[in-house]
Symmetry: C2
Subunit: 673 residues, 2 copies
């Protein structure tokens, strides 16, 4: 029996800790399995009763006769380990653990969880949870969960599957979907992901013939590489993966050492991750439920320009409430052969006119997708506009419908015909934006490994000069520089120069006033040295650089993110990237084309892209530098934790790196502050 079978289609389920009191949570799995027509055998395990809700019960797994495919464990935290031992002894291949008090409950719980998983692995028992609410296979009639929503009488069957960090969301998705005819295939609450994680489940679903679309509700990402690989498999299998991810407002970067680290907070890195894995990211919770028909059976549009959507509506205000938001996402609204961007048939459309307008734009080469909006008629007169949508040319083009009134029957009508229909203008616009931002997974880099410069250490922090050597080795022009050593501080750089104190204790040199720009001559240099030594007694030498002036400054950074892996960032220079969060971020490495596309996204770099007739900077050279920095992801063993050039000076011809920072993963000093 495969893992997928034991998990989703067990022939025999043991319910460890099943209660005989039907009002209790731990009685629910038995009630729900029966209620929803489970065809297999149910074996309640209850230490104190020989019978549970009419089912013969056993005092332990050891005593239960016959093979058991899946154990659902609900006993208190400290007895879970015993249950797993018994699973091992009985050869139960999968255990779902509802019990909490593990990694969800602080360090001690996390240690208990680690021990539990280690033991389960040794015993050959795969674990879902702990702290999992269980799973549901709707077509297979397996309702192995404690989620109260399973009290509902009918679960609509569909081909959308769902993996969730929140058990509650199983109920939200199932019940909200059921209310409007959106059905599901498999739903899994992954809990703490001690063993079976989101990535492995997505992989199982990618291979599941009953699943066409995979939805994810994510509170975090614990297995970034696995999930990325699974998303690629799902893509290869033609199964779109859509994610809703919590944590947009969290900073989570308090401990970052570089600007890059601070900027590349969890959320921005995850955005890049989802994009590069080919995962569609939605912003609104209900979009996750509603988007499935929009993506099912479709490939990523991979648009290189702004998307164009044609709008057919029976309500101007209703259409505008969606179109407004599309505009904010940069989606253009067009209407072929019409003066207005919206085909507005308010109060005068017959069904024939609506059908004709819709089929027209669905067939038009001028738009990438169609938005159909229906006003008050959607509730009581579906024949006017809802039915024309249902009858429209299927699959000619992505089609999203928004109905302004409360109209659940019309929503169900559309769902039955696999037309994506939305309850709110916001989720409708969110879905279209997410759809058109959807890209195929980036192919893995075929680039050769990058050699680490022989003279540079592979641990500790590189000093400023070493950092410049590293960036130069990647092919990035660096400012002419020299190290001026005490006591004489001699150097051969022609004036004017910039000077910076070198000290292991300074990270943000501008803050410490250890930098001086535009030193005109030797006398001024000597005066600065004296003043600087008073303020920065830890300075062990001085980096002297040729003064470089350009048209703009940029920051280019690299980070091996603990969640998503190597990333590269380009942002507006100076303090702008930080103050305005003005940067673009991708998984590393990137090629020059992708780097150029990143630069396009940085608003502050408009000043070198021809803004207000200002002189243009060498954006191509900046793209080369971004691609070069991203190649740190090709250094075997990934020794670099964070690296950045801040600033890269962008000139009319070329760029030059003037300030560099590299932090290695293996430290040999304690961090400042």
């Amino acid at each position: 029996m495969s893992l997928a079978e034991a998990l989703f289609a067990p022939r025999v389920v043991a319910l460890v800790g099943a209660s005989g009191d039907p009002a209790k949570n731990s009685a629910r799995p038995l009630r729900f399995l029966r209620k929803h027509g489970y065809a297999g055998r149910i074996v309640p395990i209850n230490a104190s009763r020989g019978e549970v809700l009419g089912e013969r019960a056993f005092s332990s797994l050891a005593e239960a006769p016959g093979a058991i495919d899946h154990a659902f464990i609900m006993t208190p935290g400290d007895s879970v380990e015993r249950a797993i031992e018994e699973c091992g002894a009985r050869g139960v291949p999968v255990a779902t653990i509802f019990s909490d008090g593990f990694a969800d409950a602080g360090a001690e719980g996390a240690a208990r969880q680690a021990r539990l998983v280690e033991r389960a692995r040794a015993l050959g028992v795969r674990v879902l949870g702990p702290n999992s609410m269980g799973l549901v296979d709707v077509p297979g009639r397996v309702a192995l969960t404690v989620n109260a929503v399973l009290e509902m009488d009918v679960l609509p069957v569909g081909t959308t599957s769902f993996v969730s960090h929140s058990g509650t969301m199983l109920g939200a998705v199932l019940s909200r979907g059921a209310a409007r005819g959106l059905g599901f295939a498999k739903l899994v609450s992954v809990g703490n992901e001690a063993d079976l994680g989101t990535g492995e489940l997505v992989e199982l679903l990618a291979g599941d013939p009953g699943t066409r679309v995979i939805l994810l509700f994510l509170e975090t990402i614990r297995d970034g590489a696995k999930l990325a690989a699974a998303a690629r498999k799902a893509h290869a299998a033609g199964k779109p993966v859509v994610a809703y991810k919590l944590g947009r407002s969290r900073l989570g970067a308090a401990l970052a050492r570089s600007h890059t680290g601070a900027l590349a907070g969890e959320d921005a890195a995850l955005d890049a991750y989802f994009r590069d894995c080919g995962i569609v990211r939605v912003d609104q919770l209900e979009t996750l439920i509603e988007i499935a028909p929009l993506v099912a059976g479709r490939a990523p549009p991979n648009l290189a320009r702004a998307a164009r959507v044609a709008v057919v509506t029976t309500t101007g205000g209703g259409a505008a409430s969606v179109v407004d938001r599309l505009g904010v996402s940069g989606i253009e609204t067009i209407a072929p052969d019409s003066k207005s961007p919206v085909i507005d048939l308010t109060m005068k459309a017959t069904a024939e006119q609506y059908t004709a307008a819709l089929d027209d734009v669905l067939a038009s080469p001028d738009c990438d997708g169609v938005l159909a909006v229906v006003g008050s008629s959607a509730q009581f007169h579906p024949q006017l506009a809802v039915e024309p949508i249902v009858r429209s040319k299927k699959n000619a083009k992505p089609l999203a419908a928004f109905l302004t009134p409360h109209a659940e029957r019309s929503l169900a009508l559309l769902a039955a015909r696999e037309v994506a229909a939305f309850r709110t203008p916001e989720s409708c616009a969110d879905a279209l934006s997410a759809f058109f931002a959807w890209r195929s997974p980036r192919p893995g880099s075929a680039a050769a490994p990058v050699e680490w410069p022989r003279d540079l250490p592979r641990r500790g922090r590189l000093d400023e000069a070493q950092a410049l050597v590293l960036f130069a080795s990647l092919g990035i022009p660096v400012a002419e520089h020299a190290i001026a050593q005490p006591p004489g501080y001699a150097h051969g750089i022609p004036y004017p120069v910039a000077a910076k104190a070198l000290s292991a204790e300074l990270l943000h040199k501008t803050e410490a006033a250890a930098v001086c720009l535009g030193i005109a001559d030797r006398a001024e240099f000597d005066r600065w040295i004296r003043a600087m030594l008073e303020r920065v007694p830890s300075a062990r030498a001085v980096m002297v650089q040729k003064m470089e002036l350009g048209l703009a400054e940029a920051i280019v950074g690299y980070r091996d993110d603990p969640v998503v892996g190597p990333i590269v960032l380009v942002g507006a220079g100076g303090t702008l990237a930080e103050i305005y969060k003005d940067f673009a971020l991708r998984l590393a490495p990137v090629g020059e084309d992708e780097a150029a596309a990143m630069i396009e996204k940085v608003k502050g770099l408009a000043i070198v892209r021809g803004y207000r007739n200002l002189p243009r900077g060498d954006v191509g050279a900046l793209a080369k530098a971004v691609a070069a920095v991203s190649r740190l992801a090709l250094v075997p063993g990934l020794p670099v934790a964070e690296a950045e050039i801040n600033p890269v000076i962008v000139k009319d011809k070329g760029v030059v790196a003037v300030d560099a920072l590299v932090v290695m993963k293996e430290q040999d000093f304690s961090p400042p502050h």
Copy 2:
């Protein structure tokens, strides 16, 4: 009979153009009036039938016997004028015009509308519309509308009224509300607002004993001053006004002459307008329907610090989906006496525990509001958490509930007890954010009128020197300057200086390279003059200024906005305000405290507020300058269209205006480009 009575409670309604075919739109008002129990008399007017749907019909208003309080006109556009004439002749006080083809149909229609309204005024007939879908008074059983949603059998009665530019939205609000027990009082589709506008309707509703909350769906604002006055009346009457406004993505500033004009696009100005009028602005459509119980009977919180919300939940993921968004809006989540910011009772709460936790935070002085989240139990086990919410300490504190599953009965249960409950995490967070951003209307300025400097013209564009005189007259320090006239271009400003060509044809001088900074001596000055004259032959003189250096640059602007009236703006200097939309905007005039609060909102000015230990700038002096510029709103007759200082140099002590632009309303030259 008052206007409000004729409009909302007519004893006799004439339906002009009522159809005898029940399937037609123009049969709806008669059907709906009857269906929903209208107690008055219905008089169909139909040129070709003596009977309409069983009601005696008349061929014209002239022939209908008895007094008529309200005529609902559905005949084609060109016959509307005749109907209005007949209304006038019969003394019908109010006509609602459903017919379209007026201002909604281009310039010709707009002219027809203007003629119609002029005639109606002369005849003493008030007009709702044209292009209005009509109105509904739910408690009064007046369903005088063509909106198809009135096919519904029962309209729940409530105390929330609704004024909408979109007729369809009447249906959306009514039907969505009805599905979950949210009732309404009066609903009005204002159409083209040829006569009766949103402002006047809000004023009527402010005086309506049956209305506690006023909701607005706005596509535009046609009567800014009236609506502002009405909002103040509503506030004085203790009736919150909540607006959803379309048009966030529109630029609408293409014709602006100054940066200020370009930045103060419709939406930013409207944000300031709503705020200063005490109108709550919501972002999501469904929030408009759901927010009423949250604001009903409450006064604006007028918080001067970040709002603090306590969270009680039975689902971690469900709570996080709201809390995440609250964080983005700057709302803090706190839990008194607890380590976690959320009181999470997942899978273990009894009703007693939920009640206790809820009452605890509702009574706590540590939070400004409470968010109650309920997971899967909300659908089938309302006794667990929904009923405790219903029983919670009413009105102790703003309370918002979010239910994760489909749970319409629970939503209705909460609605019946006037607890604000939300279907999506996004609208829940939106409502809380809007609530805590809500402020009392700004009191009208009691400041004395500001005198226009005697030497300055009141029309045309002021030149640079005149503009500086104007700003100096308002009390703003301006850079020492002189006008150097041809042929000698003599001046008395000590070097180094900045020089700018003065020409009526240049607006953005930096673009035209007509500016030179840091001219070191007379020889350099002369060289620049020669070069400049070649490139700017239209230059008639040169403005010479003392070079001013400071810690940062800001833009301070004023505009008499055509929709909302005088506004003042402060933004980051240089190109930052424009590139990053980094500015704060208020209705003018503002005091120094308000100006200081505006400056706090400008991210780019962080660099003079102590960011990264950079030296602090004189933010107080900048606030004084902002308040001074805003006093242009106190010049009698408001002669100034747009005015701005860009930049104001912010120093460690004081500020100084170095570049100024003033555009008067009455032009005497044609604009450039």
